[in-house]
């Protein structure tokens, strides 16, 4: 634990800083960024991160395709995005400079490993001359250090092989940046010792590199001034820095514990969803069963089979996988069994941009099945909100006996932010409420079990195999209302289609009232869903600080929509819907409420920045 009062007085204080680490895939930038983030988290800053990987496993060293980057936004107040233009850019090679410099704020600081700017690397990156020397960085603050060389030197007497020593150069960079932003050093030093326990040479090399970088900052005559960001004011509690996929996995585990039904995950690896499989596979002691199935259809099938057996069936995937699951989802709709289907969206169509973010699966989630096959849809707003969204998805699935689609995206999956650990007792209970006895009388007055009798929620009983006396047979053919027997009767079909529709719509009765944030009396209402939450929060904040009136509603439950939403929308002159697609939610709102909801679209494989949204909203408010 850190004393959040501790503060360094000898530096210039700023509210927030955005740092972007960029280098070759082999340069360890993700780890460097992660360490910097952790130190900042422990220090008490609010923060948000955005890792960006190349699409190739290992693109050729030194090329533009191989650039790996990690952006972190640290702040002394509540922030919701990893920031727009970085203030500081760390570039470990020319390719990183070439690829990332355009993002840097004008006048920002560039930190470069000058050793990497040799003829060969410059050529690979497409530079004719060395940007560190040819004046093209005029107007930026440049901190150039021979990181490879200095690291090799400090490692010389530590018994470290030169190749390993060179590898530690990212810790040099980390040390330098830590100095620059007055980060405490001990969390990193401690982490190095724990992480590499047993590999003494590596520990020594990394420590030495880190300290050398820190010392470089202290001793060199740097033109950049040293900055610090105060700890943010957080609500009291225990915090951890968490990414969306981990939060989502934990949300599932927590809900499974609360419902007292074990998780069964059927999954097939796919970026950016695989990490949920990896995370859940670690927690077998929670009774979690994971199956890496032969494909996405088998994955959802197995999950559905487990749900039929009384487990909490879950399946995780991304767009291509969800497209494959449509037929089985239809069966789940017809069987009315709990099932949680998680889509971590990525750039499409087809294979698209597998490592980039997008939110264009919303209409598929709504309509990607044949026939009238409605099901509820929940979306997560931020990395840590993935916990709550997963919990909500399980709540709905279990209570209403229905498959639920939970939408997240690549940005939430890998991005991190501080998360206040919930009190376990405060988590709502979920009741599986398995059927244990007959629920109807047949014509002969005998007690029988009818699998399609319904409760007040219009939900049917969940009678799991092994329960004596409740044997029944169900399937995907239309069922007779009540008995669940096969029925080809026209009126029964109409009735069942209507009931299936009504029971999903009824879920909205269980929502809390919709919250309108900002200026209730504004003309402009921003409606949104998913990971746009953070950027919109920032942009709306900027609008309001500059005196512009704007209201906003963010939806977690996308289907059915909240009962009070229509009334809210009709209360505003203009409704805009920023989306990482061509306007999918706006389509739904227009159809549902006949309100002229206008999309603000971005389909670049990258999240909105607060600045571009601010700009858009300003236009709308004119």
């Amino acid at each position: 634990m850190i004393d959040t009062k501790e503060f360094l007085p000898d530096v210039r204080e700023v509210e927030r800083i955005i740092v972007r680490f960029a280098g070759d895939s082999g340069d360890g930038m993700q780890l460097t960024g992660d360490r910097f983030t952790s130190a900042s988290a422990l220090f008490g800053n609010d923060l948000a991160t955005l890792p960006e990987f190349p699409a190739e496993i290992r693109a050729p060293a030194g090329t533009l395709a191989g650039v790996s980057a990690f952006q972190v936004h640290i702040s002394d107040h509540d922030i919701t995005t990893p920031g727009d233009a970085p203030n500081v850019l760390v570039t470990m090679n020319p390719a990183a400079m070439m690829a990332e410099l355009p993002r840097l704020e004008s006048g920002g600081t560039v930190i470069a490993n000058s050793d990497a700017f040799n003829q060969r690397n410059l050529a690979k990156a497409g530079y004719q001359t060395n940007p560190l020397e040819d004046g093209s960085l005029d107007g930026y603050t440049l901190i150039s250090a021979p990181m490879t060389d200095l690291t090799t030197q400090v490692c010389k007497d530590l018994g470290v092989k030169p190749r390993d020593a060179q590898r530690s150069k990212n810790f040099f960079a980390l040390g330098l940046v830590s100095w620059l932003f007055s980060r405490p050093t001990y969390p990193t030093l401690q982490w190095i010792r724990e992480k590499f326990a047993g590999k003494d040479a590596i520990i020594a090399a990394n420590e030495a590199a880190f300290k050398a970088g820190h010392a470089f900052g202290e001793t060199a005559e740097l033109s950049a001034s040293r900055l610090a960001v105060r700890p943010a004011r957080f609500d009291p509690g225990t915090y951890t820095n968490i990414n969306g996929n981990t939060a989502l996995s934990w949300g599932l585990i927590a809900a499974s514990q609360k419902a007292d039904i074990p998780i069964f995950l059927g999954s097939y690896p796919i970026t950016p969803a695989s990490d949920i499989l990896h995370e859940l596979a670690k927690h077998k002691n929670f009774g979690v069963r994971t199956l890496q199935a032969e494909d996405e259809i088998a994955a959802i099938g197995a999950a559905l089979g487990a749900s039929y057996g009384g487990h909490l069936g879950v399946t995780t995937t991304s767009g291509p996988g969800l497209a494959l699951k449509g037929e089985t989802l239809g069966l789940a709709v017809s069987l009315e069994l709990p099932l949680v289907v998680i889509d971590i969206q990525r750039g499409g169509p087809s294979t698209g941009l597998p490592t980039k973010t997008e939110a264009a699966d919303l209409l598929m989630a709504h309509y990607g099945r044949h026939g009238e096959a409605p099901l509820p849809i929940v979306a997560a707003n931020s990395p840590s909100d993935c916990f709550a969204a997963a919990f909500e998805a399980v709540r709905i699935a279990v209570r209403y006996r229905t498959p639920v689609i939970l939408l997240s995206d690549g940005y939430l999956a890998n991005g991190t932010e501080p998360w206040r650990l919930p009190q376990i007792a405060d988590l709502p209970n979920i009741s599986a409420d398995f059927a244990t006895s007959p629920n109807a009388l047949n014509e002969d007055g005998e007690e029988v079990f009818w699998p399609y009798m319904r409760n007040n929620d219009l939900a049917r009983p969940w009678a799991v195999p092994g329960t004596a006396g409740l044997m029944h047979r169900i399937g995907g053919i239309e069922k007779e209302d009540g008995t669940g027997n096969i029925s080809y009767d026209p009126e029964n079909h109409q009735r069942m289609v209507t009931i299936r529709d009504a029971r999903i719509k009824k879920i909205a009765d269980s929502y809390p009232p919709t919250t309108i944030e900002g200026d209730l009396d504004a003309d402009l209402l921003v409606v949104s869903w998913g990971s746009t939450w953070g950027a919109i929060t920032s942009a709306v904040g900027r609008m309001r600080r500059s005196g512009q009136k704007v209201a906003r509603v963010h939806l977690t439950n996308i289907y059915p929509l909240p009962n009070d939403l229509g009334g809210i929308l009709r209360g505003y002159q203009r409704v805009v819907v920023p989306e990482m697609n061509l306007g999918q939610l706006s389509k739904i709102l227009r159809a549902e409420y006949l309100v002229d909801a206008r999309p603000i679209s971005k389909v670049e494989g990258q999240p909105f920045t607060a600045a571009e949204l601010h700009h858009n909203l300003l236009e709308m408010n004119r």
């Binding site: 422990l42 585990i253 514990q257 069964f264 069963r289 057996g309 009384g310 650990l421 376990i424 995907g476």
Partner: protein
């Protein structure tokens, strides 16, 4: 939902018969398979509520509706995958999977072979009628080359699968074949499959009297059986014929039908269903390459190897023993944390 296996029930055939009207065509081979199953179940002593029949789509796949057990009629081809989830979740249940040759080998082929290699504790019955019944008569992946059907008016060109060979190629631990004309044989093979630990697959030659009548008559009609069916019996030389006058030898790795008089009894192959090496089972499966030659029936192999669902449960038990049952508070604090007061 505890994973204890109950095997104490005393029941009769009637107890295993559901109240649903059977809807197969009159004369369909599926009827006798159903009867064999309903007769077998009381003998096993298992409880009805612990028994689940899972199926896909097709005539065969209607089977679960007629058993007074839990039943899940799913979608075309997916039953092995769905049953895998159920069996992994609930080791206390007896999970049967029923489907046709289209359901299991065409659209569902991949799920089938993966269930077999994983060796999930499922008892899989493949009703092979060499035709698509429910969709009214297209050829299937087991139909012979040249077959004229609605979708192949000029004759099919697809070399058929041999389901036994496919299963063996997929590392199946229990593979058997029986046919709908011999209730006692079916019952015995089903019993063996049911008792097997791991995935068991039984191919049942089944007559579709509407769209492919007599497909197996050359093998299964009463007066042909002795000459055309080769019963496989563990530990015994492989012999057949009205007077046991024919037998099977392995000739440089290839199974061949010979006259016992020519080679002598000692030269005959002695069937070992427990052989971990599936080569011989595979060689035997090649005997049936066309329907004019004798075909082995019975248990090709019954090998004991790692069962999947049990192994999954064991990993869970070990994890819980090592780390204690899951504790949310511990989970939440497993990444670095900090306090704010």
């Amino acid at each position: 939902m505890t994973n204890t296996i109950h095997t104490t029930a005393v029941t009769t055939k009637k107890d295993w018969t559901s109240d649903q009207e059977v809807r197969w065509c009159p004369g369909c081979g599926d009827y006798s398979i159903l009867t064999a199953m309903q007769l077998l179940m009381p003998e096993t002593g298992v409880r009805r509520e612990d028994t689940v029949f899972v199926s896909g789509i097709g005539c065969a796949a209607r089977f679960p509706y007629y058993m007074n057990t839990y039943g899940l009629h799913t979608i075309h081809g997916r039953s092995p995958a769905i049953a895998t989830g159920l069996a992994m979740a609930r080791r206390d249940l007896h999970v049967w999977v029923v489907g046709g040759d289209g359901d299991m080998l065409s659209i569902g082929g991949n799920h089938l072979i993966h269930a077999l290699r994983r060796n999930v504790d499922l008892t899989i019955l493949l009703f092979n009628n060499q035709i698509y019944g429910l969709t009214k008569g297209q050829y299937s992946p087991t139909s012979e080359v040249g077959k004229v059907t609605k979708s192949t008016p000029l004759g099919s060109l697809d070399t058929p699968f041999n389901p036994i060979s496919v299963a063996l190629g997929a590392e199946a631990s229990f593979v058997a074949r029986t046919h709908d004309m011999d209730r006692a044989h079916m019952q015995e093979v089903f019993r063996r499959a049911h008792n097997h630990r791991g995935a068991a697959i039984v191919e049942v030659y089944q007559n579709c009297n509407v769209f492919n009548d007599g497909a197996f008559a050359a093998l299964t009609k009463k007066d042909a059986r002795a000459d055309m069916l080769i019963p496989l019996e563990h530990g015994k030389p492989v012999r057949f014929g009205a007077n046991q006058e024919r037998g099977v030898v392995l000739d440089d790795g290839v199974a061949r039908v010979v006259s016992v008089a020519d080679v002598g009894v000692d030269a005959l192959h002695v069937h070992d269903e427990t052989a971990a090496d599936l080569s011989v089972a595979f060689a035997l499966s090649r005997l049936a390459d066309d329907r004019s030659s004798p075909t082995p029936i019975g248990v090709y192999c019954a090998v004991d190897r790692l069962e999947y669902a049990g192994a999954v449960d064991a990993q869970i038990a070990t994890a819980q023993a090592d780390r204690g049952p899951g504790n949310l508070a511990e989970l939440f604090t497993s990444l670095p944390t900090w306090e704010v007061n």
